[in-house]
């Protein structure tokens, strides 16, 4: 391990321990680590954006490659700076309107297709897949019953009583199972992060284990 690697790893380990110290109680080491993280993140992001956006997409193309057509988006982009004076603040609306218009135009149709139409089609076609065994059929029934009952639960035009109430109740159970699965995965995720830090401390820093 080179000297720079050792210093970097040791600093990372010290700050990991400083953040862990919050589990005991709030303390100056934790506060220092927290503030340093915020400062470093902002500095790093500014540096990255400066090089990857400003230098790569404005300075180099315009001044080195003479792509003067880029002055048009740059011109509209400069309107974002209108916020510096109350009389020019309205200029911000122009680039925002352009971004929103283009973004919505592209996004809405494909997002609808992706998250609603294709999902709906595959839920309807769930029994038409080839080579389904008994277990696949049970899963397909559960899927259809789950989707149907959960949608009924969120259907508020009818009172949830009688058959509708009964189906909505089934929908609640499906939703609760879904939330339970989500919560279980959240626990798994958080534990994974802790394990990751422990492996870093024992393997990369202390070299206690290989």
């Amino acid at each position: 391990m080179s000297v720079m690697n050792f210093i970097g790893t040791t600093l990372a380990a010290i700050f990991t321990l400083a953040v862990f110290s919050f589990l005991y109680k709030d303390n100056p080491f934790y506060k220092f680590a927290e503030h340093l993280l915020v400062g470093l993140s902002v500095g790093y992001y500014v540096g990255q954006i400066w090089h990857t956006a400003f230098i790569s997409w404005i300075i180099n193309p315009v001044f080195n490659e003479r792509q003067y057509i880029l002055f048009i988006p740059i011109f509209f982009g400069l309107f974002y700076l209108g916020f510096i004076h109350s009389k020019t603040v309205w200029l911000i609306r122009i680039p925002i309107a352009l971004s929103l218009g283009i973004g919505s135009g592209y996004g809405i149709s494909y997002s609808f297709q992706t998250s609603i139409f294709i999902q709906l089609r595959e839920t309807i076609n769930v029994f038409t897949q080839s080579g389904m065994d008994a277990w696949d059929v049970i899963k397909a029934i559960l899927l259809v019953v789950g989707v149907f009952s959960a949608i009924v639960y969120f259907f508020f035009s009818w009172k949830h009583e009688g058959v509708v109430g009964w189906i909505a109740k089934v929908g609640i159970y499906f939703l609760m199972i879904g939330f339970g699965a989500s919560f279980g995965l959240t626990v798994m995720g958080r534990i994974s992060l802790l394990i990751g830090r422990f492996l870093f401390l024992f393997q990369d820093w202390l070299h206690i284990i290989k």
């Binding site: 954006i49 798994m188 992060l193 422990f198």
Partner: protein, 355 residues
């Protein structure tokens, strides 16, 4: 009853300490754990296994260092698999500027592993050379560090990387004098080279525009790699017959995500361009993406550290994913015990009229 009352009032710091102990013990005793890869992961593995050599695989690093424990092992396992199958690996960071470093670390580490495997004999003979031994003694380099430096110099010769050659100019001279560097040419087709077998684009701002632009022309949209080198200088992007023009040349786009980035990959790459998409996500988000697996909009899903462990098992290269599985199981058992005890205590307390 008194035990449960005591348990319900216990200082939470004891629970933290117990959790730390429970997680640490399996790491230290290296508790063996066997993982049976889930079908969601195996689907992606099989898909890559069946790809023709030379097809592209695009990894999108859409996570920041706080998700490193779950997603970095996946990135490494997927990179190793793609490179070892002679698929052309590309990486990009679109959501988080801080992912730029994680992406190159994941890809380069696997390129180095594969190149070390390919050049094992050459590295062994170089290490035994007297002049190289003298160099290592002067620089106080251990075997691992020396082999890494020799590897960098040899690969730099093929990649014509002046920066690396200058950085290790002394070792370069030693290897040339010992006639070791001339032998690297015989391995040229087997080693993985930047611009021919892999490429990392780094962080590119403008998320949706980049995804859409790559559907038309990757080199024009992204223009440079992470080092600022024009993509058109690389064989991958300028070869008249085998270039990576757009998604048509990419077998699968794999989004490694710690946020909502998969939506854009699905909407544009899958729905608009009709190309396969797969994902590796943090466990927290995984439940949201199973519907897309059921509808076959994604061809594989790696779920948190477990997903990484599954993939490491499939490629036969244990890494950080598998290392954490025994601790994960131990922690889950502890949490289940706490949930059971907590509920018993709650109901006994309720029965006894306590609030």
């Amino acid at each position: 009853m008194n035990f449960f009352k005591w348990l319900s009032n216990i200082d939470r710091r004891w629970i933290y300490l117990l959790m730390a102990v429970v997680i640490s013990i399996p790491i230290f005793i290296r508790a063996p754990v066997k993982v049976k890869p889930s079908p969601d992961v195996t689907m992606l593995y099989d898909y890559l296994e069946n790809q023709e050599e030379g097809m592209g695989v695009l990894l999108s690093f859409d996570y920041s260092p706080d998700s490193l424990a779950e997603l970095q092992p996946m990135a490494k396992a997927l990179s190793y698999h793609a490179l070892s199958k002679n698929l052309r690996l590309m990486g990009i960071a679109l959501s988080w500027p801080s992912a730029a470093g994680l992406g190159i670390e994941a890809i380069k580490s696997q390129v180095d592993i594969i190149n070390s495997e390919v050049l094992k004999d050459l590295l062994d003979s170089a290490e035994q050379n007297e002049e190289v031994k003298t160099y290592a003694a002067e620089k106080k380099l251990a075997s691992e560090g020396l082999r890494k430096e020799i590897l960098y110099v040899l690969i730099a010769k093929l990649e014509k990387d002046k920066e690396i050659e200058e950085r290790y100019s002394e070792l370069k001279g030693v290897l040339e004098k010992a006639r070791i560097s001339s032998e690297i040419v015989t391995y040229e087709k087997e080693v993985r080279l930047i611009g021919r077998d892999w490429c990392y684009f780094g962080y590119k701002p403008g998320y949706t525009q980049m995804i859409l632009g790559m559907g038309t022309d990757i080199a024009t949209t992204l223009s440079t790699d992470y080092k600022g080198t024009s993509l058109l200088k690389y064989e991958m992007f300028n070869s008249p017959t085998e270039k990576m023009k757009n998604y048509d040349n990419i077998a699968v786009c794999i989004d490694l995500a710690a946020g909502g980035s998969l939506g854009s990959w699905l909407a544009f790459v899958n729905t608009k361009f009709g190309r396969p998409v797969a994902t590796g996500v943090t466990a927290v988000m995984a439940a949201d993406y199973y519907p897309y697996l059921q509808s076959k909009q994604i061809i594989g899903l790696l779920n948190g550290m477990r997903g990484a462990a599954d993939y490491e098992t499939l490629i036969g290269k244990p890494g950080r994913g598998l290392s954490g599985m025994s601790s994960q199981s131990a922690a889950h058992i502890l949490i289940i015990i706490f949930i059971i005890l907590g509920n018993i205590g709650y109901f006994l307390g309720k029965k006894g009229g306590e609030k």
